[in-house]
């Protein structure tokens, strides 16, 4: 089992946000999570990847059979958990290539492999950039600095294919992408799929799921997964809206 979340309750301050999440993702699976604004999708992502500021009041998260709740964000990342951010952060003055190489070498070091020098890394990253059809000029800029919304998302996927995580959580990676970019990103993800790699794709649009076919679709509402189904669930949602499920719950 790649990821096993049991009865997860979490709050920010006194405000409960996740109210009993149960989720199991097997190796090689592609899961999609849909749900209204503010239902807790990014919160769930942040908690899995180890962001501070949340209190876990109940439940557990296991990754590859072990609890990760006490692990630092960097340890989780080194162990193969990756988040593509809904809002990638701009880091002024930190060169994108240098950042990517630092991250890449942190992983190599963790795996007991020798670090890559600047020239070898350059060769590697150019290959990776082809996968997401990114222009080389982004390498010279600061991390996400002045990147358009779509360029930031491509930069996230570039990081994913470079760091090669086992579990990738893509938080609204499709938002803000034009049709061509959406296809490129979807292609990047599809080519990256492997039987030992799992994905959780968070999206508001069925459109993405046409390109990236999910095995399982979940609907998150007010901090709980209220419905789970196959890819037809996404289609039904698009047609009927979330109101349909509100009714279901009553």
């Amino acid at each position: 089992m790649m990821l096993k979340i049991k009865n997860l309750h979490a709050s920010v301050g006194d405000k409960p946000i996740l109210k009993g999440i149960n989720l199991e993702v097997k190796a090689g699976e592609m899961h999609a999570i849909m749900g209204r604004n503010g239902s807790g999708k990014s919160t769930l992502t942040n908690i899995i990847t180890g962001k501070e500021g949340y209190t876990i009041t109940d439940g557990s998260i296991e990754y590859k059979g072990k609890s990760i709740l006490d692990d630092s964000p960097e340890d989780r990342a080194l162990n193969g958990i990756f988040q593509s951010f809904q809002y990638p952060v701009v880091i002024h003055g930190v060169n994108n290539t240098y950042f990517l190489r630092t991250a890449y070498n942190a992983k190599r070091k963790y795996l007991g492999q020798p670090e890559l020098d600047a020239a070898s890394f350059m060769k590697l990253i150019r290959e990776k950039m082809k996968l997401v059809e990114m222009d080389r000029s982004y390498l010279k800029r600061s991390v996400n600095d002045g990147f358009s919304g779509g360029e930031k998302k491509r930069n996230e996927i570039l990081q994913m294919v470079t760091l090669e995580p086992s579990l990738s959580i893509l938080d609204e990676t499709d938002s803000g992408l034009d049709i061509d970019a959406l296809k490129i990103v979807a292609n990047g993800v599809n080519n990256f799929r492997r039987e030992d790699r799992s994905f959780i794709v968070i999206t508001h649009y069925q459109r993405l799921l046409k390109y990236i076919e999910p095995d399982v679709v979940h609907v998150l509402m007010d901090g709980q997964i209220v419905k789970t189904g196959g890819k037809e669930l996404a289609l039904a949602l698009e047609e009927k809206g979330y109101g349909w499920l509100d009714g279901d719950q009553l």
């Binding site: 990847t49 630092s72 964000p73 960097e74 990342a77 990638p88 880091i91 950042f99």
Partner: protein
């Protein structure tokens, strides 16, 4: 205090010093004695307390007591490739330790008439004190139409033999018409005394000249006071990058006056503070003519109980149309005990101008830190990466690679010395 410095002056004159500009010196002494050291009741000194200085008697540190071996060692330790060197020991030029291009004019400041240069600037007790006692100094001229490619590094080495000595050093740079040069003031000491460096300097940029001025302050235990006046004639370009790596007290007063039209002034500052260090930048950029541009970026990174003060004024005079001025002050606090007092000010008396300014002080951005950590970069390295990124906006403006490398190295040393 009155009697001590009066007697000190008499003794000093009797020793054969201060024969030039005697009247000016007496005026300086009189002012200094009347005003005494500033108190925190004075607005410009509100956050920088120097009242302690009045309790000691600082005597003039003579250049005859220097330890040449120690100086050589210091020079060896601080070599920078591809630069000319001008070596000033306790404010006095040492020709043997200097080497520079023949087209650069170097003289003792006493033989060059530079007194009128500071006439328009506001004197302070420290500049008055300097006027009374400065005994030598550097006059450096780049003649008309001459471009010097290699950076010219002026190394100010001050050696002290007690806690209560003061060096009054002075320099004047004259950039001829259409001339270009990179000039570095590098302040070093090998003494651990808490003495005083009281430096006064001026840079005159004649028409269409360009001066890249770099200042590196690395005295770790001495108190450093520096008053710098820059006067720019038409179409001249002044680009300054300054590094302060921390001392118990580092006060910089810098006034840039755009006298001619179409001037460009840039001032970038990086302060790395730790322990109880205190850095204070008082800057004035005066747009006295039309079509001037200025950009000021003052950044401090503070640890422990250190403190940074920034008081920056950009003044656009009446009629200085088409001025474009930008001022920014940013501070990162790495400790709860570090403090910043920032006061950025725009004073605009013309209507057709574009001016903006701002000041921010805070910890490292949590979201950015998490972003880096979520990529497997450890907390310490993530912090270092962000701090280096913050400093880049200053360092990247330096044209010379070897100087840029020195700034980067100092930053790395500072980051490593964290523990």
């Amino acid at each position: 205090m009155n009697s001590f410095y009066g007697k000190e002056f008499d003794r000093w004159v009797k020793d054969g010093h201060g024969s030039s500009n005697h009247t000016l010196r007496e005026v300086g002494l009189k002012h200094f004695q009347e005003l005494g050291f500033p108190t925190t009741r004075q607005e410009e000194w509100r956050f920088t307390n120097v009242s302690q200085l009045g309790k000691s008697h600082y005597s003039w540190s003579s250049s005859t007591k220097v330890d040449e071996q120690a100086i050589q060692k210091l020079l060896d330790e601080h070599r920078i490739a591809d630069t000319y060197t001008i070596c000033m020991i306790n404010g006095v030029l040492n020709k043997n330790l200097s080497n520079f291009h023949e087209s650069i004019i170097i003289e003792d400041i006493l033989s060059a008439n530079t007194d009128s240069f500071h006439e328009n600037s506001i004197s302070t007790p420290f500049t008055d004190w300097n006027t009374a006692f400065y005994n030598s100094g550097l006059y450096l001229e780049i003649p008309d139409n001459i471009q010097i490619e290699k950076p010219i590094r002026v190394i100010w080495i001050n050696q002290f033999n007690s806690h209560t000595e003061v060096v009054h050093s002075k320099s004047h740079v004259n950039m001829g018409l259409n001339s270009e040069a990179v000039i570095i003031d590098h302040f070093l000491t090998d003494s651990n005394y808490e003495s005083i460096i009281n430096h006064v300097s001026g840079i005159q940029l004649n028409e269409n000249s360009q001066c890249e001025y770099i200042k590196i302050q690395e005295e770790t235990s001495a108190k450093h006071f520096h008053s710098l006046d820059v006067i720019q004639d038409a179409n001249s370009r002044y680009i300054s990058t300054q590094l302060a790596t921390g001392s118990p007290l580092n006060r910089n007063e810098c006034t840039i006056i755009q006298q001619g039209e179409g001037c460009d002034s840039k001032l970038y500052v990086l302060g790395l503070q730790r322990d109880q260090h205190h850095v204070d930048y008082q800057t004035i950029i005066r747009h006295d003519n039309i079509h001037g541009t200025s950009r000021e970026v003052v950044k401090n990174i503070l640890r422990d109980s250190s403190r940074a003060v920034f008081n920056g004024r950009v003044i656009v005079a009446r009629g200085s149309q088409k001025t474009d001025a930008f001022q920014s002050n940013k501070n990162i606090l790495l400790s709860k005990n570090a403090r910043v007092n920032a006061n950025p000010q725009l004073e605009i008396y013309a209507d057709d101008v574009a001016c903006s300014h701002g000041s921010t002080t805070g910890e490292l951005d949590d979201d950015a830190l998490f972003y880096l950590r979520s990529r497997g970069i450890g907390l310490d390295e993530a912090q270092s990466l962000m701090i280096s990124g913050f400093a880049t906006e200053v360092i990247e403006n330096i044209s010379s690679e070897s100087i840029r490398d020195l700034f980067t190295l100092r930053l790395e040393n500072w980051l490593e010395a964290k523990a």
